[in-house]
């Protein structure tokens, strides 16, 4: 006769440990939700007042920033932030993807491994170091262009873009490279067997198949670029005027630390207002890019 075991334990179905763990996870999850909600409420409460007082449109579209005479128009800074981020991503994305292709598909293993370590190191360097590098190397490199254009020498939008490109490249490269590596080998085999050259295979099959990962890298890069304050502050000259490539600009992120220490009253509230605008921008960009990413992902399935 065979022995039959029972699957009934006699106790409650879920052991105590499991229930306790569930509770802990729930609390952690709630804590993160609550902190986002709290931050949103706090930002709106502290930055909303000055925006309401100045008028939303006058605050967002005003061209003059002059705290001395209580003029708080931040359009130049908004444009500078958007332009710097957009240009930096537009430059860094193709460059980063090409480097990732090289590392994942074309370079010999040893070289790729060495470069990868190097790139990971770059991603961890504090932004103030990038700022120093920019101020010492990139800003002077632009002097000649500025001279040719008849403009005074100094920090510029171009310098901010270049420093942002350098800062977001490691992120874009390493995320894209991982995505390229995980493309199933069978796709590439099929492409080669149909008579593709190595490059056709990479550009027409591998990169499209890695699209959602590459977009993820772009999202992270964009997030880092728009949120960066220290490095751009050190290379961009910080004049709150309408942005031009070779003239100084002030980005939203830099505006706050620059004036924080000596601001008070309305002026300080205006800095809160800038914080709120930046916060909303980052939210919008994140949601938009995530949406794009979801669409890209759905297409793959």
């Amino acid at each position: 006769m065979t022995k039959k075991t029972s699957v009934l334990s006699g106790k409650s179905a879920k052991p105590l440990v499991e229930r306790a763990m569930n509770l802990i996870f729930l609390i952690c999850g709630l804590a993160s939700v609550i902190s986002v909600v709290f931050m949103t409420v706090y930002m709106v409460a502290s930055g909303g007042a000055i925006i309401a007082e100045t008028g939303v449109l006058r605050f967002l579209l005003g061209r003059i920033w002059n705290p001395g005479s209580s003029e708080f128009g931040i359009l130049p800074m908004i444009l500078a932030s958007l332009l710097a981020t957009l240009c930096a991503v537009l430059v860094a994305l193709p460059v980063g993807v090409l480097i990732a292709v090289f590392l994942a598909k074309l370079s010999p293993g040893k070289l790729a491994a060495g470069m990868r370590t190097f790139i990971d190191l770059l991603a961890g360097i504090p932004s103030v170091i990038y700022g120093l590098l920019g101020a010492l190397l990139i800003v002077p490199m632009i002097f000649r262009l500025q001279k040719a254009a008849g403009l005074p020498n100094g920090g510029s939008l171009l310098a901010a873009i270049l420093i942002l490109v350098i800062m977001i490249l490691p992120t874009i490269i390493s995320v894209s490279e991982t995505a390229l590596r995980t493309v199933p080998k069978q796709y590439e085999e099929a492409a080669l067997a149909l008579g593709s050259t190595r490059l056709q295979c990479i550009f027409k099959v591998t990169i499209p198949a890695a699209k959602s990962g590459i977009v993820a890298g772009m999202v992270l890069g964009t997030g880092r670029a728009i949120g960066e304050a220290m490095a751009v502050m050190m290379v961009s000259g910080n004049a709150a005027i309408m942005p031009e490539l070779l003239r100084p600009v002030r980005l939203l992120t830099a505006a706050i630390p620059i004036e924080w220490a000596y601001s008070s009253g309305l002026h300080r509230q205006a800095l809160y207002g800038i914080g709120l605008v930046l916060f909303v921008f980052i939210m919008i960009i994140n949601i938009l890019l995530r949406q794009i990413m979801k669409k890209g992902g759905a297409h793959d399935e």
């Binding site: 199933p184 069978q186 796709y187 085999e189 099929a190 492409a191 080669l192 067997a193 149909l194 008579g195 593709s196 050259t197 056709q200 027409k204 099959v205 499209p208 198949a209 297409h299 793959d300 399935e301």
Partner: protein
């Protein structure tokens, strides 16, 4: 007997130290189906891949001997490998459609070989899908992702994708081993149809399948080609004792 499409002479292949193909001499006649059978690991897939030079990318591979396709040595110095692979199509064991639309999958080959005109591409896509007996199932969803098809449909799509580059020789490595019996019989019917216009070399572990669909059968064992003959002879009247043992299931 039909004209010879491809033959090999003293074809040896080494992966590093391992001697995987030990002097293969085979003839593949035109407009016929040639089946390769033999136990696992005997080098059938490896042999197939030498015919479209898919082994080139493997590290440490060494190939000697001749592979002559229409009288041209495909391992000669001045061979254009992309042109070779256009002429010699390949279908893999597991269906491997690209993660793109059905249309783009089929149009991929013609596009990389320079075809840009929409009308021409439309025509090639339809014809290839018809030839692979899958047109009726997908004609209303050409823009949909190919990965949404069933396994059997995906495999026929991959056959259509190979046909789209207008190959002359078609290599198939166990094309039905991942499929259910109904999809399998569809693909067997398809192969029967395709032999009219293409020369086919197919690897299979399924003896009945080899007997059903092939004109010639080659029996491989441990890197040697033991016996090559008409399928009728190999299955009912094998000359070599080892062939007989294998097809009657006494070893392997």
């Amino acid at each position: 007997m039909n004209a010879i499409k491809l033959y090999t002479k003293e074809l040896h292949l080494h992966y590093g130290e391992a001697h995987v193909l030990k002097g293969i001499d085979i003839e593949v006649p035109e407009h016929c189906v040639t089946a390769l059978i033999g136990p696992s690991g005997c080098g059938k897939s490896t042999f197939l891949k030498t015919l479209n030079r898919m082994n080139d990318a493997v590290a440490n591979v060494k190939i000697t001997g001749e592979v002559m396709l229409d009288g041209e040595d495909i391992y000669a110095k001045n061979v254009d490998v992309t042109a070779l692979r256009k002429k010699v199509g390949m279908v893999f064991q597991a269906p491997n459609p690209f993660p793109m639309s059905i249309y783009d999958n089929i149009a991929y080959g013609p596009r990389i070989h320079g075809e840009k005109k929409r009308i021409v591409l439309d025509e090639i896509v339809e014809q290839s899908l018809r030839d692979a007996a899958i047109w009726d199932e997908v004609k209303d969803r050409l823009k949909k992702p190919a990965l949404g098809l069933s396994g059997g449909q995906q495999q026929r799509l991959c056959i259509a994708r190979s046909l789209a580059t207008k190959p002359e020789l078609l290599l198939m490595d166990e094309p039905t081993s991942a499929l259910d019996p109904i999809s399998t019989s569809k693909i067997e019917e398809l192969i029967d149809e395709l032999r009219k216009s293409y020369s086919i070399v197919i690897v299979t572990h399924n003896m009945q399948q080899a007997a059903r669909i092939s004109d010639y059968t080659a029996f491989f064992l441990l890197g040697d080609l033991v016996e090559l003959g008409t399928t009728g002879d190999i299955f009912s009247n094998p000359k070599d004792r080892r062939t007989e043992d294998y097809i009657t299931g006494r070893f392997g």
